[in-house]
């Protein structure tokens, strides 16, 4: 066995160095590929969400138009029609809650806000384009003391308890999670 001379050692070191550099380059390439993929996915999600927001705004525009004209009853009937086609759509529940609140049907309005937030938490997210956080906060702030008093003076009433439970639910969703 011939002993390794300096040239051999140098050659072997260069080879090892090349392999290492190649490996690092390959790894770096994969990382940048995955980060590009991540950016693509986030973008896709954002585009899909924006499309959903636009779709909802277009879908419920006739309802909003009727509301602006002060035609609450016609707006509610339009919502009934849309609910047959999109029964689990939270946006319809939100709009229904808002209109019923304007019509002084407070208990029913609370039921619909609860249903909407259960279906889609975006409505209590301040940063969301669909947010109704301020409206829901105002609803809780004004109605919770009233319904608490009414429920205390009439502890047997199940409908009052149901409404109060709904208000507590909205309150806890506004407060956010426990982390």
């Amino acid at each position: 066995m011939v002993g390794r001379d300096r040239f051999d050692i140098l050659t072997f070191s260069c080879l090892l160095g090349c392999v290492l550099i190649l490996g690092l380059l390959l790894l770096g390439g994969q990382e940048s590929k995955s980060s590009v993929a991540a950016i693509d996915k986030a973008l896709e999600q954002q585009i899909a969400y924006q499309a959903r927001v636009n779709f909802l705004q277009n879908l419920y525009r006739p309802v909003e138009d009727l509301r602006l004209k002060g035609q609450a009853s016609a707006a509610l009937l339009k919502l009934d029609e849309l609910a047959r086609k999109y029964p689990q759509e939270a946006h319809g529940e939100i709009l229904r809650g808002e209109i019923l609140l304007e019509r002084d049907a407070v208990k029913q309005a609370i039921d619909h806000f609860v249903r909407a937030v259960r279906l889609n938490g975006d409505y209590v997210d301040q940063a969301n384009p669909l947010t109704r956080r301020n409206e829901i906060q105002h609803l809780v702030d004004t109605q919770l003391p009233l319904f608490t008093r009414r429920a205390r003076s009439n502890p047997q009433s199940q409908p009052l308890q149901k409404t109060l439970t709904g208000l507590y639910y909205l309150q806890s969703r506004l407060a956010g999670g426990c982390e």
Binding site: Q71, S73, A74, L77, E81, D104, A105
Partner: protein, 302 residues
């Protein structure tokens, strides 16, 4: 163990006998009558409320009889003592409360406003009748006179807008026979009348069933919300029985069932009701204001 069971047998038998004697069979229990105001027709009233009445009989240990009553005859027949409990629209409840001190028990929940409802004035889409100002000199169809959301609410809307229905419109009619509210809606839909006084609940139900479309009509105006159909009790009844009656109603859930005519029925669904709730008599004040303004019973002055 065997001897213990043998010793327990007489006690168990006695307990069973006591239990059986507590459940009086139908026919041997006290009898009472519930007057149900006909909403659309007598047949419909019987079909809707017999299962609920059977359920109440079971819950209270009283044999309740269903008495279908025409709206116009209701106050008179109640005053004559023909029934102990009442189920009427909210305006007839006001009349019974003012004239006979009927006690408020529970209010029915149905439709989007729950225990409340409202009245709408409608015209056909494309008719050009879009505002209350357009109502002058038009042909209008109302529901029956004692209907809070089919007559009073719309009459009141018009008075508040400075339109006297007796003077300012060409003429108005009230459909004859049963299903008057639907006749109002279809009367406008098919162009027999220019405008109609439709209960918002009927519009909601008809749209829900696909019989009409929301876009078929202009909703020119809608009244404030007022209480819906109401159970009441004669003032001199046993307070414990009245409270049991009230609790049986407000505790009803969508899953409660009753056997009627060989069928096992859901009580609330068979009565077309979402539930019952006890309101305060003051919740009827909005209706009182409307009845006073429209010079209608129980505040009518000649």
């Amino acid at each position: 163990m065997k001897s213990f069971l043998i010793r327990l047998l007489p006690f168990a038998t006695l307990f069973l006998l006591l239990l059986l004697s507590a459940c009086q069979p139908e026919g041997t229990r006290p009898k009472m009558r519930i007057g149900y105001m006909n909403c659309n027709s007598e047949g419909e009233t019987l079909k809707r409320f017999r299962p609920l009445t059977r359920y109440l009989s079971q819950q209270l240990g009283v044999d309740f009889e269903v008495v279908p009553v025409d709206t116009q005859d209701f106050p008179e027949r109640f005053a004559a003592g023909e029934f102990e409990f009442t189920h009427t629209n909210s305006l007839v409840y006001l009349i019974l409360h003012e004239e006979n001190q009927v006690q408020l028990l529970a209010t029915e929940k149905r439709g989007r406003y729950g225990t409340h409802t409202s009245g709408s004035i409608i015209s056909r889409k494309g008719s050009g009748i879009k505002t209350l100002d357009d109502l002058k000199d038009k042909r209008m169809i109302f529901g029956p006179q004692l209907a809070p959301s089919g007559f009073l609410a719309q009459y009141d809307i018009m008075l508040r807008a400075g339109i006297d229905p007796e003077i300012d419109i060409a003429y108005y009619a009230i459909p004859s026979g049963s299903f008057k509210h639907e006749k109002v809606v279809y009367g406008v839909y098919f162009g027999q009348f220019d405008v109609g006084a439709a209960p918002s609940l009927d519009l909601e139900l008809m749209v829900g069933e696909g019989r009409i479309q929301a876009d078929d009509f202009n909703i020119i105006a809608e009244s404030p919300i007022i209480p819906y159909c109401t159970f009441g009790a004669r003032k001199d009844l046993d307070p414990q029985l009245v409270e049991k009656f009230r609790l049986a109603l407000v505790n009803l859930t969508k899953g409660d069932r009753v056997t009627f005519d060989g069928e096992n029925l859901k009580v609330l669904a068979s009565a077309w009701v979402d539930g019952y709730e006890t309101l305060a008599d003051s919740d009827y004040d909005q209706l009182r204001v409307m009845a006073r303004r429209a010079n209608m019973p129980p505040y009518q002055e000649f």
